[in-house]
């Protein structure tokens, strides 16, 4: 049934992912391993936002805050507490900080709806952006470099291919978990809330708690994505928290398929590949991107996942 198909796709994806660096090496295109790592990290971020927006119906323009927080935790540890820069400590810490932030921001923001929710989440993200801009000790506006990547016992994380495998494994695990979440009791309630919150309330569901839980889960995964991105680029900057980033992530999920498990991955891939391809043609590739986005919003609002959805009888 559903779960079987999902598992099949997941296995296929992991198999392809595992094979990719070998194929790239054979084709002499090792550069692309690093590129695909970035795609996978963006896919993780976009998937977390898809949980919030696509499944839960909460349009947030402040999701980048958790992404940036996770990244800065890794960066700050690298500078101030290098004894903790093992991935097994730093990454869970990044997730914990993001989770806490999501809890605090969510408790306040989720009391609002619609455009007010959009504005409040935007406001919190911008505030955090300005906080990090003001922290000159950590690079301020210019951001700061990481001396080296987080360490994992027995692995050479400086090697891009090794790091790629780590990212792939984490993305695979998260997609698996998100898939299970989707089909779980919690997932069904969340989708019900997106469909008709008043109805769900009258059935006896404390909708605020479910939305808050989704908000925190999404923020936590975004924090992990941030930690990974900090490692990927060996660099963190306040721009990671800017609402532009939140906007770009939203673009990815609409491209890939709102609410679909694979929407984050498909959208990240399409977006970043488009960027690579279009940049080769013109410096002004964002015009093309804008036009494509408009086309998707008006004519294909289901995104790529819509192309794969079974047609209704």
């Amino acid at each position: 049934m559903q779960a079987l198909r999902r598992h099949a796709w997941l296995i296929a994806f992991m198999a392809l992912g595992l094979a990719f660096p070998k194929l790239a090496a054979v084709a002499g295109q090792e550069y692309y391993v690093s590129f695909v790592s970035r795609v996978l990290i963006w896919a993780l971020l976009a998937s977390s936002l898809n949980l919030l927006v696509g499944m839960g119906g909460m349009v947030s323009l402040g999701h980048a805050a958790f992404f940036g927080l996770g990244a800065y935790v890794v960066g700050i540890i690298g500078l101030d507490a290098p004894q903790w820069s093992g991935a097994l400590v730093a990454w869970p810490l990044a997730m914990a900080v993001s989770a806490l932030a999501a809890l605090l921001i969510g408790v306040i923001s989720l009391r609002t709806r619609g455009v007010y929710f959009i504005m409040i989440t935007l406001a919190f993200a911008q505030m955090l952006f300005y906080v990090f801009v003001s922290l000159k000790a950590y690079g301020g506006d210019d951001g700061m470099s990481l001396a080296r990547r987080s360490t994992l016992p027995g692995l050479n994380m400086a090697n891009d291919t090794v790091f790629y495998y780590v990212v792939l494994a984490l993305l695979g695990a998260c997609l698996h978990a998100l898939g299970r979440l989707r089909d779980s009791r919690f997932g069904r309630v969340l989708r019900g809330i997106k469909d008709n919150e008043a109805r769900m309330e009258s059935l006896g569901y404390a909708t605020f708690r479910f939305k808050l839980a989704a908000f925190v889960i999404a923020g936590t995964v975004a924090g992990l994505a941030g930690a990974l991105m900090a490692n990927q680029n060996s660099f963190v900057s306040p721009n990671m928290l800017h609402w532009d980033q939140s906007g770009t992530t939203l673009v990815m999920i609409i491209l890939g398929g709102l609410g679909s498990l694979w929407g984050g991955l498909a959208g990240a891939a399409v977006y970043l590949v488009l960027e690579e391809v279009l940049t080769a043609f013109t410096r002004h590739w964002q015009i093309a991107l804008g036009l494509i986005l408009l086309g998707v919003v008006f004519h294909a609002p289901q995104g790529i996942a819509g192309l794969f959805a079974r047609k209704k009888p």
Partner: protein, 306 residues
Amino acid sequence: MTWLLFLEQCLNGLQFGLMLFLLAAGLTLVFGIMDLINLAHGSLYMVGAYLVATLTQATGSFFLAVPLGIVATALLGMVLEAMVLRGLYRRDHLSQVLATFALILIANETTRAIWGVQPLSLNVPDGLSGSVQLLPGLSYSAFRLAIIAVGLAVAALLYFVVTRTRIGMLVRAGASNRQMATAMGTNIKWLFTAVFGAGAALCALAGAMLGPLLAVQVGMGENILILAFVTVVIGGIGSIRGAFIGALLVGVVDTFGRAFIPTILRAVLSPAFADAAGPSLAAISIYLLMIGVLFWKPQGLFPAGS
């Protein structure tokens, strides 16, 4: 801190607030009447500034360029409304956010393509480049005074149009109850286009006036867009009065924050930290203001149709 300095900052706050009002007025109407979240509102402001800067260079006269730029931007706005935005009125907020985000991308990149990445120079026109002695010890830029005058004049004009004319009544009705406005037999489409065009004209005016003070560059729209949205949320969606009060509040808080918070911090904390944290805290103060207002009044200060 002398009280003359305080007065000067009041004027600065008033000046910035009035310009913010020009942006917020259009935004709140579009939001209130057409239920449209328009992220590209800031892009109209940017386009207005760019057009006025270019026309000033071409014609040699700022005062000629401004009305031309306003008309051109209004027309552009109306074309945009008819071709793209009209299809969004019935859509959900996410679709509106994404579509208007796409417009920002297109607008920014097109501007870069035409004018390059370097900021455009737009100078204070010769006639207004001096200062005026307001009080002994207080000289204030003539241009800024002109901005205040123009801002107040436009606010008065808007007030008159919205409260005393038939079209203003339609606009107010539409803002508080869309179905009622349709039932009154208005040609809704025409009204929407006109409102949008007016909003675009206001954006262009603000762009023209702020251009000489801030930089005319790509990205100028996004910075002020957020402030405009915050203003609209604080003031209450759909309310011009709310936009006015909200804009003055935001203008004053922002100006005072930037002027005085670093000074206050320096007295309390180390200079290095104060210099770093000061501007950020000033920026953050606006958001704290918005969150505070929403806590006390979840629909803003003067929501339309309440």
